[in-house]
Subunit: 354 residues, 4 copies
C-alpha cells in the first residue's frame, strides 16, 4: 500500500485552485484519493456551513475528474474553525497499490470505513459506541494494521439540529442533548469511546450509558472526532504504520495533557523518528479544560457567553502547536470529549521519511 | 528606590480577596502602591466595562485603606481581554524609599506620569504623540532611568464612544476614527508613537499626521498601549533597570516579530539574566498581522465578522507566551499599532533576582 | 402607600448623571427608594459584569446620600442586555407613607422580599421553588395586595459559575446545570414556578422536580425572572394595584403568546385603562421559541453558535414592544422559562394616571 | 410580460426540497427563472459563506434542470443574515412571454442587468456609481418601466477581502476601505448612489467622491444593495409596475424613517392597493442609526464589539416588519448606506392581485 499525503491551502471553503494545480501538473491523481481532512473557516459549531460547502465543492470537482462512484467513496472530514493563526487547508490522502519497485518499510498505511446512519435518539448512546467500535475495527483490518501501530483515528460524526430536536420532542423520544451545540459533544464523545473500545483502551462491557460525556477518565489516546451537520452516519479514517507500506510518510503520536503542553507536541514529532523540518502536518484535539483551570490558574473560556469555548481553545492549541513547528497550517479540532485526558487531547504527526 | 511586584489572581473584576489577604498579612502596604496593571475578563474592545468596574472597586478599596489623595495618584492600567488561557490578574507595583540596609544593584525602577485630557478630535493626531512623548520623558526622569535601560512603557489611553462621535459630527469637527472600535487603534497608535519619539526611535520632526496607523515601519520596541472608555487622558508607567535600585526584581525585553515568535519570549526572559523559574510576569502586545498572513500562511482573523481580531490574537499570543513559562497568568494586550513591527509586538519580562 | 416611578436613562452602567440631577432638584428623595430595575448594556449572560458594576455604583452613591442600612435594603434588579434598539435605563421605584392630602384610588402598590442564599445544588430544584413562593407571598402581603390584582413579580436570582461547578464536581454533589449558561435557565425557571405556586397558577403538590425547565405548560402569567452572577439569593419585587394607593401610577399586564405578539403589547397597555401616551414603561420577558418555529416559520436563533439566543430574542421583543409605543427605552429581559407560554412571556405596563 | 413570484422556505443554504417540489409538481418552470433573492442564515458580513453555498447549490440544480447558459443568466442575490425571527427563504422570480389569454393590467414587471467586474480600488468610487447607474438604466429599459413606477432596485455588489487588501497595499494602489467589513459599506453605498443617479434622485454631476458613505442626505428611496464575497461585479434587479404586465402580482414601496417605523411598513403595503393578507413578501433595508440614537434614545449597537451592528439591526427591523404582517419570512437586509434616510431604509411590498 502506497499512501500519499498532500497539504493544500484554501483561500475559501470552495477554493480548489491549489488542488487543481496539483491535478493539472499530474502530481496528484484524483482517482487515488481515499480521504480528505480539511480545516474550514466556519465557527466549527452548529451553524457552520463551511464544512458542507467545502465537501459539496470537492465532490462536484472530483466527480468531474473521476467517475461518480469513486468520488462518492472518498471520506471527507471537514473540521470547522480556523481561529487564531490556524490556516484553512486540506490534507488529501491518496492510496495506490504498492509499487513493486519501491522498498517496503515501516511507514504510513490507511483504512476507511463507515457506520450506518444514526437516529437522533442514538447519538451519544452505547449503540453509537458499539457501531463506531465495529467500524474502527473494520478500518484497522482494511489498513492491515496491528493495534499498537495505530496512531490516529479520525471520525466525522453527526449532530442534532433544532428541527430534529423538535420532531423528536413531538415523538416523545428521549434525546440526550438539550440543544444542538450539546449534541455535538455527545456525538463526539460516543464516537471517541467507540475508538477506545476498538483499541481496547476501554472495555465495552464495563461501559455504562452515563459514562458518556461524564466519566472523562475513560478516553482514547488516538481518537479525533468532529461533529458536523452534513451527515447522519460516522465516517472513519484510521492511520498507522505498517511494514508493508511503500509510503514516503510515517506517523507518530502523543497526548497533550493540557492546552499548553508544548512538550507533547515535540514528543509526537519525535515518535515519527524524523526531524522537525520533515513534519508535513500535525493533528490535534483541543478542549477548554472543564475544571475551569489550566495549570492551576483560572481560565474564562467556559464562562464567556460571547464566544464558544471550542472556538477559543482551538485558537490556543493551534497557537501552541504552530509555535513548535513555526507553521500555522496545522489541523486542530475542537471538543475532545473522551479524546485524551480531560482538558487535553491526542496529537498525531505525519512526517516525510528522509 | 525599592520597587515591589505582586501578581494577584482575580475571580472577577471586583474580586480583591487575594489583594486584601496580602494587605491583611502585612505583606503589601497599600500606601506604597504606585501602579496597578490588570488583565480583566471583558472583550477588551469598546463596550468592555470590566476595566472600569475593576478600577472603581480598587479605588474604593484603596481609599478605605489609605488616604483618598494617595489612592487617586495610583496609575491604574486595566487591559481587557483574557481570551484563551489568559488568567485574570493584577500586577501591583509598590514603591518605597530605598532601604539603606539593602544593597543597591542594577534592578527595577519605575516612574509614572499623566497627560492632560484629550479632546476627541485630538485622538490619533500629532498633538497626542507630542503630549505623550513629553509625559514619557517625565516618567523616565522621575524613575532616574537612562533611555537604554528603559524596558517597558505602558500607557492607558482614551477612546471615542458613539455618543462622542455624534456630538463631534454635529460640531463639524473632523475626527479621524469613523467608529469607536477604530478610535481605539488611533489612540493606541498615537500613544505608541509618543513613546517612540521619547525613546528616540522615531523623529517627531519627520513624523507626518498620515503616518499614524498607516506607516507601521515606525514603531517603539518598548511601548505597550491600551485604550479604554474610562479615561480621557493618557496615564504612563515606565519600567527599567537602574543602578540605584534596591528592588528584588529586574526587567528585560525583546520584540516578537510575529504572533508565533516563541524565541522572542525566551529572549526577553534571557535579557533579565535570570532563569525561567524566576519569572514573575511577562507583558506582551499582540495584533492580528495586518498582511493577512502569518509565516506566509493565510490567517482568517481579519475577515472574521463574528469575533474581533484583537480578541483572537490575544488568545494566540497568550498561548504562545504561556506555553514558554507554563503559566497562563501573563499580561497580553491587544492592538499593537506602532508597538513593535507590523504583526508583532514588544514583550517584557520581570524576574525576581536570585 | 404612595409609589413613585422614575425612568432614568444611563450612558453607561456607572452613569448616574440623570439620577443625581433628579436628586439635586429634589424631585426624587433617595431615602424613599425601594427598588431599582435596570437594563444594562452587557450580554445578559454569564460573564455580564455590567449588572454588578451598576449595582456597585448605585450602592456607593445611595450610601453617600442616605444611611448605609437603608441603601442595603433597596432591591436591585439589573437585567443585562440592551440588544437592538433597547436603551439602557433604570426604573426607580420610591415608596412613601400615604399622603393624607391625596385621595386613595386604585393604583400602584409595591412589596419586596428576599429569600435566603441558595447552595449551587439547590438552584433549579423544588426547594428553590418553595422558598421563592414563600418570599412572593410575603411581598404580596407587604404590598397589601390581593392576588388578582398582582400584575408583575420581578425576581433576581443567582447562577452557577464555572468555579462553582468545579467545586461541586469535586464534592460529588449533583448539580442540575452542566454549565453556567444553563444554570441561568434553571434558576430563572424554578424562580418563575415559585411565583406560579404563590399565585396559585401551579400546584406545588403536583409539581415534580423534572417539570422544572421541561414541562413548559406550567407557567406564571406575571413572573419575570433574571439571573445574575452578583447574588446567591433571590430578591423579589411584587407590583399590583390596590385601593389604598395614593400613587399617580397604575399597572396592567397581558401575556405575549409569541415574540411577535404585537396585540398583547397593546392589550397590556389597555388593561391600565390609560391611553398609550401615558405609558411610563413596559416590562416584558422574551425567549427564542424552543420549538424552533415562530408562527410556523423556522427561526435560526437556537442553532446560531455565534450569538446566544437570549441576546437575539431580546432584540426581537424589544423591537416589537418599542414599535408599539415608539419608545426604545423599555424593559425586555431574556429567558422566559415558565414565564408565560413556551416562546412567549408576560408583559406588564405602568402608566401615569390622567 | 408575465412575472411569477414564489416564496420558498429553506432548511439550510443548500436545501432545495421545496423548490424541487414546485418544479416536480410543474408549478414552477425552472426555464423561466430570471432572478432569485435569498435570505441565508450566515452572519451577513465578510466571512458569510452561506451566500456562496446557496448560489452554488442553486446553480448546480438549475443547470441539471435547464441548459447551462440559461442557468448562468439568472441573477442570484443572496443576502446573508436571518437574525431574530427572520426565516431563511428564497424569493424566485419567473418571467414568461405575455400570455395573450390574460388581460394586461398595471402589475409587476422586472428587468435585470449586470455591470463589468470592478477592481478593488474602484469599489466605493464615482466610477462604481456611474457604472451602476448605467446598469440600472438598462434594467429599467428592459422591464419597459417608466421611472415613477419603479419600486425596488436590488443590487448585489462585491467586497474586498483581506487578501485583496494586502495585494493592493503591495501595489501601492489606494483603496478606500481599511478592512473588509468597511469595504462592504463602501460597495453598498456607491451602488445605492448609482440607483439614486439613475432614478434622478441625485445628480451625478454634483456628486463628489467624498459624498460616498459620508453625506447621507443623498439617497435613493428604492435602492437595496447587498455586498458579498462571491462576485466582483454588480448584478441589478429592477421591479416596478407597468400597464403591459400580465402578472398576478403588484409592487409598492415606502421609506422607513427609522428602525421602528411601523407606519412605513403599513404604508408600503397600502401602496400596492391590496389588503395585508395578500402580501407575498416585504423587502426592507436596515441600519443601526449612525447618530447613536433612535427616537432620541441612546442605542448600543454601534458600541457593541461582540455583535456587528448590521446583525442586530436586521433582528430589529425584521421583528418590526414581521410583526405587522405576522409572518417572519420577510426579506430584511443590513447596511442601508444611501438607501433611504440615515438610520432608515426603503421598504417594498409585493402582493398578489385579488
Amino acid at each position: 500500500m502506497k499512501i500519499g499525503v498532500f497539504k493544500i491551502p484554501q483561500n475559501s471553503p470552495d477554493d480548489l485552485t491549489q488542488l487543481d494545480r496539483l491535478v493539472q501538473q499530474r502530481q496528484l491523481d484524483p482517482a487515488t484519493i481515499t480521504a480528505i481532512l480539511g480545516k474550514t473557516e466556519g465557527n466549527g459549531c452548529v451553524n457552520d456551513f463551511t464544512r458542507g460547502f467545502a465537501v459539496q465543492t470537492l465532490k462536484t470537482y472530483l466527480q468531474s475528474k473521476t467517475d461518480r462512484q469513486m468520488a462518492e467513496q472518498i471520506v471527507y472530514v471537514m473540521s470547522g474553525g480556523t481561529e487564531g493563526v490556524l490556516s484553512p487547508h486540506l490534507t488529501v490522502f491518496t492510496c495506490e497499490e504498492a509499487d513493486l519497485n519501491l522498498p517496503q518499510r515501516m511507514g504510513l498505511v490507511l483504512g476507511v470505513s463507515r457506520t450506518r446512519d444514526f437516529l437522533p435518539e442514538e447519538i451519544g448512546t452505547l449503540t453509537m459506541v458499539e457501531e463506531v467500535a465495529a467500524a474502527v475495527e473494520a478500518a484497522i483490518a482494511k489498513a492491515g494494521l496491528t493495534k499498537p501501530d495505530v496512531h490516529f483515528v479520525q471520525i466525522k460524526c453527526p449532530l442534532i439540529t433544532a428541527l430534529h430536536l423538535k420532531s423528536q420532542a413531538e415523538a416523545l423520544q428521549p434525546v440526550r442533548a438539550q440543544n444542538s451545540y450539546q449534541s455535538m459533544a455527545y456525538s463526539r464523545g460516543a464516537s471517541a469511546l467507540g475508538v477506545a473500545v476498538a483499541m481496547q483502551e476501554v472495555s465495552f462491557a464495563q461501559l455504562r450509558p452515563d459514562d458518556i460525556c461524564s466519566n472523562y477518565s475513560l478516553y482514547s489516546s488516538v481518537a479525533s472526532t468532529s461533529a458536523g451537520v452534513e451527515l447522519q452516519n460516522c465516517e472513519v479514517i484510521v492511520l498507522g504504520n505498517a511494514p508493508h507500506s511503500t509510503s514516503a510518510y510515517v506517523i507518530g503520536h502523543s497526548v497533550m495533557r493540557h492546552a499548553l503542553d508544548r512538550e507533547a507536541v515535540a514528543q509526537a514529532i519525535a515518535t515519527t523518528g524524523q526531524p522537525i523540518d520533515r513534519v508535513v502536518n500535525l493533528f490535534a484535539k483541543a478542549e477548554a479544560d472543564p475544571s475551569g483551570l489550566i495549570l492551576d490558574k483560572r481560565h474564562t473560556m467556559l464562562d464567556d457567553s460571547d464566544i464558544n469555548h471550542t472556538r477559543m481553545v482551538r485558537a490556543v492549541v493551534g497557537a501552541v502547536v504552530a509555535s513548535v513547528v513555526q507553521d500555522p497550517m496545522v489541523y486542530v479540532s475542537g471538543g475532545s470529549e473522551h479524546q485524551g485526558p480531560s482538558g487535553g487531547g491526542p496529537i498525531a504527526a505525519i512526517a516525510q521519511l528522509q
